[in-house]
Every structure is written in structure tokens, then in C-alpha cells.
Symmetry: C2
Subunit: 180 residues, 2 copies
Amino acid sequence: MSHPAGPEPPSAQAGSCDLPEPLVERAALTHRKFDQTTFRWEGVSPQVYKRGEGGTAGMGWRDVVRHTLAGGETLAFQLRYFEIAPGGFSSLEKHQHAHTIIVLRGKGTVIAGLEVFAVEPFDLVVIPPGAPHQFVNAGPEPFGFLCPVDADRDPPRALTDDELRRLVQDPEVRAAMRIA
Amino acid sequence: MSHPAGPEPPSAQAGSCDLPEPLVERAALTHRKFDQTTFRWEGVSPQVYKRGEGGTAGMGWRDVVRHTLAGGETLAFQLRYFEIAPGGFSSLEKHQHAHTIIVLRGKGTVIAGLEVFAVEPFDLVVIPPGAPHQFVNAGPEPFGFLCPVDADRDPPRALTDDELRRLVQDPEVRAAMRIA
């Protein structure tokens, strides 16, 4: 392949006292290869989606796992991958942080406020602060999506009775939503 | 399809004085459908990758576009999609914010410090703060990747002469890097 040549290596200057800090700490560099067969990233294990809360209306969920791909003190966000098995759904919840998702596999239904979206790879959905939302697998394959999110964020909350009432009064939302 | 039934709609309570704020502002909700043929998101136009700087060693680049998918005052991060045409490459640069990329299409080479990675869909690479890095298309198809990044971040800088010298002294890095 023809390509632009790199510069010639300059003469070695070992012992120069203006050497910069190490180019990069090898341990901090991460390359996580993706396995198309298992749909997993090297070194990343699926975790439980969230703890309990099934006792509060709408906060139940079914067959969801979370893969944490990136995060930590050097980032203002975390990058997660969620996967919902056929028949599964996330909790119906709200919070003040916005959500951004990019679908990687399968077909899903996204409820956001009084809107219902059918999504597939690589659709993007931005859910604004405060909007009640739920992710539902809408097909026979796993439904998976990336979800980068602010590292500093408020916890999810259940909907109020009034909010739940307004959602179920909308026929399209009512047909799409899932309550465990 | 059999699925859990939603709750029965409660009786209407129009005029209740404890109604919450609107469930969601419709205008703030975003569903950008992805077009598999054009590899673009509805309503998102490719923009110039970055302005000039080709006069500084390593800061040149070739055939790169940026799609800004999400960002703004409600998010601590921006979500961008970069696409590098065959033969193209990003600038060789460094900054104090970390990079996180997820490949969506094509084959690429990632130089990060003195490491060189071959990447393909949906590989993940995390590049720590300060590491010199460059993205190079390594195949005949466009090489595209998502790159969520802190909204509040320092601008990219060119490498120092010492850093450039150390990179080109490594045969693998020297073979992989591109200087416009």
C-alpha cells in the first residue's frame, strides 16, 4: 500500500534532560477486543442491571444486563452497554440526567414521556432530563444499546401516581409499556 | 406475542391541582434514525474534522469527518462519530482528556503512546490522558467510530520534538503513523 512516509528517525539523544514524562502508562491503555460470537468485550463481564426496587410500581425489570465499558476518575462520563433479552424490559423510571443511547443490536421499543419509538441499529435516542422512560425488547433477538451517561448523576426514581396515570391514558404508550 | 399487560387506566382526574410538570418537552426528545445505506443519522450532517494546523508537525490530517450526535448543556459529555475515508488519518496529537472509542465500521489502526492496535467493529479503546494518539484507516472501507468525550476538555496539542522522536524510533509505531 502506498502511503505518506513517516519522518526519518532523528539521532538518538539518550540522557537528554528535557525528556518529557512517559508517553503513556501502558497499564492505563485499554484495548478491549469485541467478540462477534458472544457479543462481549474482552475482560468485561455482564453485571446485574440494578438492585431490586420491584416493589415500587414501574420499577420492576426483566432480563437486563449491564456491561461497564469505560469510566473512572479521568472521565466525566461512564460508557455502559445494556442488553435486554427477548421478552425483557428495563424499569420505567425518571431522573434529572439526560440519556443518550445508540442501538448496537436487535429491535427495541423506547418509551420516553408520551412518545414511543421503534429503534434498530444504529439509531440514536436522546431522552431529556425528567422524562419517564423505559426500554423494551421488541424482537426475537437480544436488544442491546450503548448508553454513555454523566458520571455525576442523580439516582433513578419511580414515577408518581399522576405520571403513571398520564402514561397509561395514552393508548400507544399503554400498549408498549411493561410493568413487572 | 404474549407479554405482561399494563395496568388498567385509572379514572381521569382532569383539573387535579397536584399535576406534575409536563412529562417531557416534545422538542427536547430526539430520535435520529440511522440509514444503513448512507451510514448517516437523520438530521445530522458531517462537519469538518478540525481547522487547519497542518503547518505543525503531526497535526495534519486527511479525509476525516465529524458527526456530532449529542451534547449540550444537559450533558457532561458530547457524543461524536468520526469517519475516516480509505487512505485517511486523524492528526497525531495529545491532550489531558481521555479518549474512549467504539468502532462502528471498517478497519483501523490506533496509535496510542508506543502501542499500535488493529481495531474492528465493535472494539473499544480507552486512551489515557496525555497519550499521543492517531487514528488511521487500515482498510478499503470507511473506518468509523463513536467517541464520547468530556464536554469540558482541553484542546489538542501537537507533540513535542522529543515525543515525536520517541515515536518514530519505535519501528511498529513508525510504520503505522501518518504525517501529512
